[in-house]
C-alpha cells in the first residue's frame, strides 16, 4: 500500500468529501471573522487576512500530509514525540510572552507569527500513543514520554491544554482491553497529582482565579458569551440585521468565536455546523470499524477523539458550563498553529480514506 501512486487532486489521490469539508470549515471561519472585522486588508495585521494566509498554508499541509502513508506515520511516531518533547522543553527556556511560555516568536526572523507548540504536540502525542497501544513500543519509555509532554505543557502553564491531553490519553487507553479497575487507579493518581501541583504552587494565580471566579459564578466573558449566543435567535443577526445588538465579548475571535458564530448565524447555523461535524465523525468511525490495521484504528480514534473533545471543551467553556480553558474551536477559531495542526489531522484522515479505497 505504501507504493500507491498518489496524485494531488482527484479520485485517486484525495477524498473529495474530506477536501470539501475541510475547505468548507475554513471558509466558515473566514466568514465568521469577517462579520466581526468587516474589512480585508492585505497585511498581516489584519486578522482576517492572517487567517486566510494560515488556512492557505493549512490546505497545503493537508495535501502534503496525504503523501505520508499511515505506515510511515507509525514508523516515524517515535521521532515525532522526540521533536515534540524537545520543542516543549525549549519553550521553558524562552522569555515568557504575556506571562506564559507558550509560544515561539518568529518575529526575530521577520515573521510576525507566534508558534504554539502544544498545538503540534496534539498530532505527535496521538500518533505516538496509537503506536504504543498497538504494541510496538516499549511501554515504560512510551508512557513516560507521553506523560513528560503533558507535564511540560502543564508547566507553561497551560491548564486547559494539559487537561485536554489527559482526557484524550485516557479515552485512548480505554479503547484497549484495559480493566475498569486500572482506569479507576490511574484516575485516583492523576487527581492526587493535580492537588500536589496545586500545593507546590505550580499553578499561576490567574488560573486559580479563573477556577474560583467560575465557582462563584461571576466570570464576565462567559456571561457575555451566553448573551451573545442568545442574541442570535433562530436565524442569526447576519440575516436579520435589525436585531443586531452589540454584545461585548472579550477575545471573541479566538476562544470565544463560537459565540460570534452563533450570534451571526443563529440556531440554524449551529445546527448546520454540528451536523457537519457529526457527519465527519460518523464517516471516520466507519473507517475505524472497517480497517484491518490496528495502528490505523488507534490513530483515527485518537484523531477524532482529540477533535471532538476539543470541541466539547470549547463549547462548554463558551457556554459557561466549565471554567475558562483557552481551548480553540478547531478550524473556526482564529489562530495559525491550531489551523495547521488540524490540517494535519484532516490530512491523516484523508490518507486513511485513500488507503481504504474510499474516494467520495
Amino acid at each position: 500500500m505504501i507504493n500507491r501512486r498518489i496524485t494531488l487532486i482527484g479520485p485517486e489521490g484525495t477524498n473529495l468529501y474530506i477536501v470539501f469539508q475541510f475547505v468548507l470549515f475554513n471558509v466558515i471561519s473566514w466568514f465568521t471573522l469577517y462579520t466581526s472585522i468587516e474589512s480585508l486588508e492585505f497585511n498581516l495585521s489584519n486578522l482576517l487576512f492572517r487567517q486566510i494566509i494560515f488556512s492557505t498554508i493549512g490546505i497545503g499541509i493537508f495535501f502534503l500530509t496525504t503523501y505520508i502513508s499511515i505506515n510511515q506515520v507509525a514508523e516515524l511516531s517515535f521521532f515525532f514525540i522526540l521533536v515534540s518533547t524537545i520543542l516543549l522543553f525549549g519553550l521553558l527556556l524562552t522569555a515568557p510572552i504575556v506571562g506564559v511560555n507558550r509560544w515561539y516568536s518568529l518575529e526575530a526572523i521577520g515573521i510576525p507569527v507566534f508558534l504554539q507548540v502544544s498545538e503540534f504536540s496534539k498530532v505527535f502525542v496521538v500518533a505516538y500513543l496509537a503506536r504504543i497501544l498497538s504494541g510496538y513500543e516499549n511501554r515504560l519509555i512510551g508512557y513516560s514520554l507521553i506523560f513528560l509532554n503533558i507535564i511540560l505543557i502543564f508547566l507553561q502553564p497551560d491548564l486547559g491544554t494539559s487537561f485536554l491531553f489527559v482526557s484524550v490519553v485516557f479515552c485512548m487507553l480505554f479503547l484497549t482491553d484495559i480493566k475498569f479497575k486500572q482506569i479507576f487507579l490511574i484516575s485516583i493518581c492523576l487527581i492526587l497529582l493535580f492537588f500536589i501541583f496545586l500545593e507546590l504552587d505550580f499553578l499561576g494565580q490567574y488560573q486559580i482565579d479563573r477556577i474560583t471566579s467560575f465557582f462563584i459564578g461571576e466570570d464576565f466573558s462567559q456571561q457575555q458569551s451566553r448573551l451573545s449566543i442568545s442574541s442570535g435567535g433562530i436565524t442569526g443577526t447576519y440575516i436579520q440585521e435589525s436585531l443586531d445588538l452589540n454584545v461585548f465579548v472579550p477575545v471573541q475571535s479566538t476562544d470565544f468565536i463560537f459565540s460570534l458564530y452563533a450570534k451571526n448565524f443563529g440556531l440554524v447555523g449551529t445546527v448546520i455546523l454540528f451536523l457537519l461535524w457529526f457527519l465527519f465523525i460518523f464517516r471516520v468511525l466507519i473507517i475505524i470499524q472497517q480497517s484491518e490495521i490496528i495502528y490505523e484504528k488507534f490513530l483515527l480514534s485518537g484523531v477524532i477523539l482529540m477533535l471532538s473533545i476539543q470541541i466539547l471543551i470549547n463549547l462548554t467553556t463558551v457556554l459557561g458550563i466549565i471554567p475558562l480553558t483557552g481551548i480553540p474551536f478547531p478550524l473556526l477559531s482564529l489562530g495559525g498553529s491550531s489551523v495547521i495542526s488540524t490540517s494535519i489531522f484532516f490530512g491523516l484522515i484523508n490518507r486513511a480514506f485513500i488507503e481504504n479505497n474510499i474516494v467520495i
Partner: protein, 611 residues
C-alpha cells in the same frame, strides 16, 4: 487489543454531552431569546481611552525627525476610591511623587474620569512600582509621548500637536480618545494617518474587565532634508541680523521665509519661516505666557505659505513670459533682442490728455535695454512700456486682464495645493476686484477704479498684488518645467496637477540664461554672489524689492536657481522689511545655493542696494 465497541461507547457519551450542549444553545437562542434584548440594552460599560502612539516622521534620508516615546504611566482607578481609602491614596501619591503639588493631587481626585493618569514611571524605581501596584486602585498603562527631536527646525512644516477642541473632536474620529490632535503643519494635514486608534479600558462598575490595545498610527516620510533645512535657517538668521545692522527700521526685522523646491519633482526640500518656536512646548500643553509671547511675534505663522507680500521685481518673469508668448514688446520694438534707451524715467500721456512721469529706481537710467537686460538690471521702464502697450491695445476691453491671466496660469492668487493646512492665496488685482473693493473696502481703492497706472504697478509686482513665497517658487518652477503642479512635503503624496502651460524648451533655456545674467557681472545680484567664484556663471536668480505702504521698510525678495545648466532647485527667499532684495535676500539665497552645490557656505554678507 483494539475494542471497537468501546469506541462506540465513548462516542455515545460524547454524543450525549453534545445533545446536552445543543439543548443549552437551543434554550438560549429560542426560549431565552426575547428576554435577552432588554438585558443587552441595559449593559452600559464605561470606557476610558488610552492614546495610540502617533506615527513617527522621517526625513527623506530616513533620519527620524519626530519620535513617539512609549512611557509606563501610573493611573488611578477612581471608581475604587471611597471615603475610607481616599486619604491613604492621597498620602501614597504625595509620598512617592514629591513634585506633584497638593493642587495637582486634588485635581486627580476631583476628575470625572474613571481613570486618571498620575505620573510617568520612567524614573521610578522598580521596587516602588511593585509596591504601589499592591494597592488595588493603581494601574499601569503605556502612554505615548510626542518628541520633536529637532525642536525649532521644523516648527512650521511639521507643525505641532495639542489638545483637541470640540470642532476637532468632531472632525477627527480618534482625536478625543488620543487626547491629542495635529494642530498645524503636516501633523494636522496628515492627522488621519498619523493618529492611530486609541486603546480602550472597559469598566464594569469599578472593575476593569477588558483592555483593548491601541493601534499605532502610520509613519510619515517627508521630502525635507534636515541638513539643508539647518543651513537655510542659519542663513536666514544671518541675513536678518545683517538687515537689522544696516537699516534703521522702526521695529526689529525678524520675519522671513525660505522655500527650497525641487524643480523635477515639486518636492519641498526645505521650508523655513522665522520667527519659529519649539513644538515640544505644546506636548504637555503650552503655558499662557509662552503662547502670548510667541503669538505676538507671529511665530505661529508659516510665512512660506501664509505670508502675503507684494512680490516686487521677482514678478517681472510673468511679463517676460507674456512678452515672448504674445510678442508684445515696448513701443516700436519687434523682438526680445531689440532695445529701448532707458533714461531713468518714463513719461506718457493718456487719451484724456493727462501726462504722467514714472521714475525708475535707477535715476540715471539703464541705457540700452532689451528683454534680457531688463531682467538682469531690473529695469522698470522696459516693463512699464509693455504695460502701456497692453493698456493701449486692450484697455477697457475683455482682453485687458492679459497679464493677470498669465499670472494666474503660473499659480498666483491660487492655492498651490501643497499638503499643508491654512495656505493663503494672495491677490492678483484687476478691474473686477477693484469694483468689488469699491463696495466692500473703499479705503483701498480710488474712485476712478482700475486704471492704467494700476496695471503698470502690477507688472513690476507692486500695488495691490500679494503672493506667498511658495507661490513664487512654484511659479518659477512652472516656467522651467511647463507644468504647474502642487508642491508636496509627504514623500508619498499624490501630486495635484493644477494646470499645464505651453512653454517651449527654447523659452525655458533663454529664461534660465537671462536669470543667470542677474547674478553675474552687471546684474543686480552680482555683488551678493561674486564670492562664489568660478561657478557663478552657472547660477541664476531674480531680485525683488517691494515697497510697502506707510513707514514699513521694503520687502526683500530673491528667487534663486541653483544651476542654469542643470536646474535642480528653485529657492524663494523673502525678508519682511528686509530692504533691497539684492542686499539681503540675495546673499541669504547665495549661502543656500553654495550648500546645494556642495560648496562651503560662506557667511551672509550685505549685498548691493539696488531697486
Amino acid at each position: 487489543m483494539f475494542k471497537f465497541y468501546r469506541v462506540q461507547f465513548l462516542f455515545i457519551i460524547i454524543f450525549l454531552i453534545f445533545s446536552f450542549i445543543f439543548f443549552d444553545i437551543f434554550s438560549l437562542q429560542v426560549t431565552e431569546y426575547s428576554s435577552v434584548e432588554e438585558e443587552i440594552k441595559n449593559q452600559i460599560f464605561q470606557e476610558y481611552y488610552i492614546p495610540a502612539p502617533r506615527g513617527e516622521i522621517y526625513d527623506y534620508k530616513n533620519i527620524k525627525l519626530v519620535k513617539t516615546n512609549i512611557e509606563q504611566y501610573l493611573f488611578i482607578n477612581l471608581r475604587k476610591i471611597n471615603d475610607e481609602n481616599l486619604d491613604l491614596y492621597k498620602q501614597l501619591i504625595k509620598f512617592n511623587f514629591i513634585d506633584l503639588s497638593n493642587e495637582d493631587i486634588e485635581d486627580i481626585f476631583n476628575s470625572k474620569e474613571v481613570l486618571e493618569p498620575i505620573y510617568s514611571l520612567q524614573k521610578i524605581d522598580f521596587s516602588v512600582q511593585k509596591q504601589l501596584l499592591e494597592y488595588d486602585a493603581f494601574e499601569i498603562f503605556e502612554v505615548p509621548m510626542r518628541e520633536y527631536l529637532y525642536s525649532n527646525v521644523f516648527s512650521h512644516s511639521i507643525g505641532y500637536v495639542g489638545i483637541p477642541n470640540s470642532e476637532e473632536e468632531n472632525e477627527y474620529v480618534n482625536a478625543k480618545g488620543n487626547k491629542l490632535v495635529g494642530k498645524n503643519g503636516l501633523e494636522k494635514f496628515y492627522e488621519d494617518s498619523l493618529a492611530g486608534v486609541p486603546g480602550k479600558v472597559i469598566f464594569k462598575g469599578d472593575q476593569i474587565i477588558e483592555y483593548i490595545d491601541p493601534i499605532p498610527g502610520q509613519d510619515l516620510t517627508v521630502t525635507l532634508n534636515i541638513e539643508l533645512q539647518e543651513v537655510v535657517i542659519e542663513s536666514l538668521i544671518e541675513g536678518l541680523n545683517l538687515a537689522n545692522k544696516n537699516f534703521e527700521s522702526e521695529s526689529n526685522i525678524e520675519r522671513g521665509a525660505v522655500v527650497v523646491l525641487n524643480i523635477d519633482t515639486g518636492a519641498v526640500e526645505a521650508m523655513v519661516s522665522l520667527p519659529d518656536f519649539d513644538p515640544n512646548l505644546f506636548v504637555d500643553g503650552i503655558s499662557q505666557f509662552d503662547f502670548t509671547r510667541l503669538d505676538r511675534k507671529q511665530a505661529f505663522n508659516n510665512f512660506a505659505i501664509q505670508g502675503l507680500y507684494p512680490p516686487g521685481s521677482v514678478f517681472k518673469v510673468v511679463a517676460y513670459w507674456l512678452a515672448v508668448s504674445e510678442n508684445i514688446f515696448p513701443v516700436e520694438l519687434n523682438s526680445k533682442d531689440d532695445s529701448i534707451d532707458c533714461t531713468g524715467n518714463l513719461s506718457f500721456g493718456f487719451d484724456d490728455g493727462s501726462k504722467q512721469v514714472y521714475n525708475d529706481w535707477k535715476l540715471e537710467g539703464h541705457g540700452l535695454v532689451n528683454l534680457r537686460e531688463s531682467l538682469k538690471q531690473s529695469c522698470n521702464v522696459y516693463f512699464w512700456d509693455i504695460a502701456l502697450k497692453i493698456w493701449r491695445e486692450f484697455g477697457n476691453t475683455d482682453g485687458e486682464s492679459l497679464l493677470q491671466e498669465y499670472a494666474k496660469d503660473l499659480g498666483f492668487s491660487k492655492l498651490t495645493n501643497v499638503d499643508l493646512p491654512y495656505e493663503r492665496v494672495g491677490i492678483v488685482p484687476d478691474r473686477q476686484l477693484f469694483e468689488e473693493w469699491k463696495v466692500a473696502r473703499p479705503e483701498l481703492v480710488r474712485d476712478e477704479g482700475w486704471l492704467g497706472g494700476d496695471l503698470m504697478n502690477l507688472i513690476i509686482g507692486q500695488g495691490a498684488i500679494t503672493t506667498t513665497p511658495l507661490q513664487v517658487a512654484n511659479a518659477y518652477r512652472t516656467l522651467i518645467v511647463g507644468q504647474n503642479s502642487s508642491p508636496y512635503l509627504n514623500l508619498n503624496a499624490t501630486r495635484i496637477i493644477n494646470n499645464n502651460i505651453n512653454i517651449s524648451n527654447e523659452f525655458s533655456n533663454f529664461l534660465l540664461d537671462d536669470l543667470g545674467s542677474v547674478t553675474n557681472r552687471g546684474g543686480t545680484a552680482y555683488k551678493a554672489f561674486s564670492i562664489i567664484g568660478d561657478e557663478i556663471g552657472d547660477i541664476g536668480g531674480k531680485t525683488g524689492t517691494a515697497q510697502n505702504a506707510g513707514n514699513k521698510n521694503n520687502t526683500s525678495w530673491f528667487v534663486g536657481i541653483d544651476s542654469i545648466s542643470k536646474p535642480k532647485y528653485v529657492i524663494a527667499t523673502v525678508v519682511d522689511e528686509g530692504g533691497s532684495g539684492s542686499a539681503v535676500a540675495a546673499p541669504i539665497s547665495r549661502r543656500v545655493i553654495q550648500f546645494l552645490r556642495g560648496l562651503e557656505p560662506t557667511p551672509v554678507e550685505f549685498g548691493e542696494i539696488t531697486e
